[in-house]
Symmetry: C2
Amino acid sequence: MTDKPLYIRVADSDNVAIVVNPGGLPAGTRFESGLVLKEHVPQGHKVALEDLAEKAAVVRYGQILGYTTRPIARGGWINETMIHLPSAPGFDDLPLATAPTLAQPPLEGYGFEGFRNADGSAGTKNLLGISTSVQCVAGVVDHAVKRIKDELLPRFPNVDDVVALNHAYGCGVAINAPDAVIPIRTLQNLVLNPNLGGAVMVVALGCEKLQPERLLPTTAITEAFDDSSIVRLQDEAHQGFGDMVASIMAMAEKRLSVLNKRQRVHCPASDLVVGLQCGGSDAFSGVTANPAVGYAADLLVRAGATVMFSEVTEVRDAIHLLTPRAATEEVARALIREMDWYDRYLAGGSADRSANPSPGNKKGGLSNVVEKALGSIAKSGTSPIVGVLSPGERVDRKGLIYAATPASDFVCGTLQLASGMNIEVFTTGRGTPYGLAMAPVIKVATRTSLAQQWHDLMDLDAGRIATGTATIEEVGWELFRLILEVASGRKKTWADNWGLHNALTLFNPAPIT
Amino acid sequence: MTDKPLYIRVADSDNVAIVVNPGGLPAGTRFESGLVLKEHVPQGHKVALEDLAEKAAVVRYGQILGYTTRPIARGGWINETMIHLPSAPGFDDLPLATAPTLAQPPLEGYGFEGFRNADGSAGTKNLLGISTSVQCVAGVVDHAVKRIKDELLPRFPNVDDVVALNHAYGCGVAINAPDAVIPIRTLQNLVLNPNLGGAVMVVALGCEKLQPERLLPTTAITEAFDDSSIVRLQDEAHQGFGDMVASIMAMAEKRLSVLNKRQRVHCPASDLVVGLQCGGSDAFSGVTANPAVGYAADLLVRAGATVMFSEVTEVRDAIHLLTPRAATEEVARALIREMDWYDRYLAGGSADRSANPSPGNKKGGLSNVVEKALGSIAKSGTSPIVGVLSPGERVDRKGLIYAATPASDFVCGTLQLASGMNIEVFTTGRGTPYGLAMAPVIKVATRTSLAQQWHDLMDLDAGRIATGTATIEEVGWELFRLILEVASGRKKTWADNWGLHNALTLFNPAPIT
Ligand SMILES: [Ca+2]
Ligand SMILES: [Ca+2]
Ligand SMILES: [Ca+2]
Ligand SMILES: [Ca+2]
Ligand SMILES: [Ca+2]
């Protein structure tokens, strides 16, 4: 890290830049360009590059973040209280699929060592998944999983772990409400996740609204075994708790035995289904980590992989930059459909997009959701958007996909798992210990200071881009190679090393009863 | 259990009864009354006591459950497909606080051995509670709690357990939406639960919307310690994961040391705050377990305790039987306010009360939500209703309280804990292994066959009432005495014996972002 005062201007038309140095820079600091700070500006926060009158457009990423609430002199600090939030882009006049298709050459010869599944997909882990039809059974399942890990798993060394898919849905819910389709398909698709190897089982109570048969959407899961793949606690055969646990363990053992026969085999990079997300973002997210992830996303798409970006409230204000990139008008209209659904969902609860960003985002220099969105979509790189998924839908094609989800980290992660994600890349500026039990999560720090402080939680330091010690391309390639290493089981993420796994958290926009 | 064919008719005006015998009874069965079954009737299901024409009122508990969809002969089976659901009672002409107050004599001399708290409340357990401001920290907290249990807890034998208050709220939520008040006050009030001894701590991330200071609503929690009661993972002092875990463990150790000095002392029964709930109900719930619970509720109220009944969708259709029992017109209007709020909440999601009962309820003989409600309110006994709580509000008086909650078992339980519950009584007919980490849950079986089959999960058999081997009064007294034993730590519930604890599940009617 150099001591030289540094700022980052993204586009030539920007009239603001962000301060790079840890701790920020004091009043009087002179940059190479001749700019002098009028006051202390915190790290990641914006400084005016020219005198701005009241109601002047604040331009970053070549886009208007909003309009000044007062005059700001060149060298002055611009924080969130000084910018009026503009209206979100309307849906009526958006350009649909108008961007010229960039002919990116295929990237050949890259692959990973994964677990081949009967349905053609590939796992980056070899997990026994124990799904549940209702929260009522969670205590029994947790008890059984602990015993399975202690007593059975040591005998099946090729199985990486046992994962209970506990959740808050299943009963006491308005299961026929229109929006109930979202949590139900999420649970249905979670059991199809490639990292569960097509050998899941379901623990049910018996009297719940969400009957367990609905969680076994294909016969592929059950036909490999001489049982129904369902343990019902209310089964007449269970004389008490001991019998219930024994039933779960016996069914688990059959699946562990089958899963244990699998070995990692070479899989082309096109078998990757990579989810992209950010959380605890700061102003560096959009200039270091997210562009590097975008570069890696382009490499992945060139290598034939599926790449999903998500988080509706964080792309909503940049929708006018995404609809042109849609591969077809139909895809562009699907993007608008998801934004519109979410606008109405928020309005139904008397909320709007201003609920994002969080206080921590603001402390990190992100003034409003426009600035956050412009930085956030950098993760998507430059590929055409070839498909759009509603929350929890399963991916059905290669290339860059928009998977609509809330921005909430664990809700987004859960929905991406349902969509078929076998590995996730997560960028963070403020720092979060986020992790998932069902797929490895590679965490990319936006600042070197975070990467150094959280040395045993951050997997990659993209902050080097801000200080000029690495380029976006270099970090992008590093990340691409790290994804292949982690997917191959040769490198462990820090979250997996410590066993840090967030709860599976379903998105249920319907009422509960 | 006798082999004699038995049915139960609740009120003299009932034109249906339910079959008692396990497995049901075959066509041709003749009862003592002379009634002969026309067809097989399953256990707990209704049989017509007289010939019913099409569109005839089906009467049980002296109330109309609905109207027949076809003629049903005396001795015929009446299931849910044969009854039209009537409209819910309107709110305009309900009798308000009109029932004569029953002068029940005080019940003196009953108490339990509990943990006296500084705020005057009493715990039935002595727990270290580690609250969290956001799901982001859950992985780290789980890791730390495991180490606290393994390395610290053995040194503090008077502390019963360490409980992580993990949840899905805190960030990625519309925190300023009007309905966000519910999850926020729930979390605020959970830390005040009597079983946490006024010595909680909060683990926070740092950048979340729900800042941890908001979870420490009184200074009473913090002033006993020389720290802030908050560990922020993003604290500058933390150099990596090891430091975070060390901070949590150090703060936990100080609290364990204080909690460990406490001893059980004699507390009057008036220190009990008993939550009542049912789940996996069947047709026996309303004639065995719930009336016995109602009898115990009356004893508790006479002994000066606080008793809460809940579950809006399960009392909604019996609201006309509750508003007369309100102690004042103001309380009656508060009951109506909560029913009305929930009607509108369900309608907002295009759902209605017909989402309850569950398929398991129906299989158990409960035809519709009217029948479920009539059986459900039996839990409340006969005392006047002296107060009404909105979801997650804290109880502030003795006597019978209506605490409005969803019927969902774990959501209701979480809200009752926030209201200050220190012990719960839970009735079940289909059977559920439900339990809570923060308070003991006494599970009462509605049928002897369930109590026998789930011998190591059910704490009390109320099914003896159906077969005539015990009266409602006898089982009510047994339950009352069992509550005092469990509250004193002298008897362990089966859920606590096996460590079966459901997830803390917040009620968040507001959108997420
Ligand atoms: Ca994000
Ligand atoms: Ca996120
Ligand atoms: Ca209930
Ligand atoms: Ca319930
Ligand atoms: Ca959990």
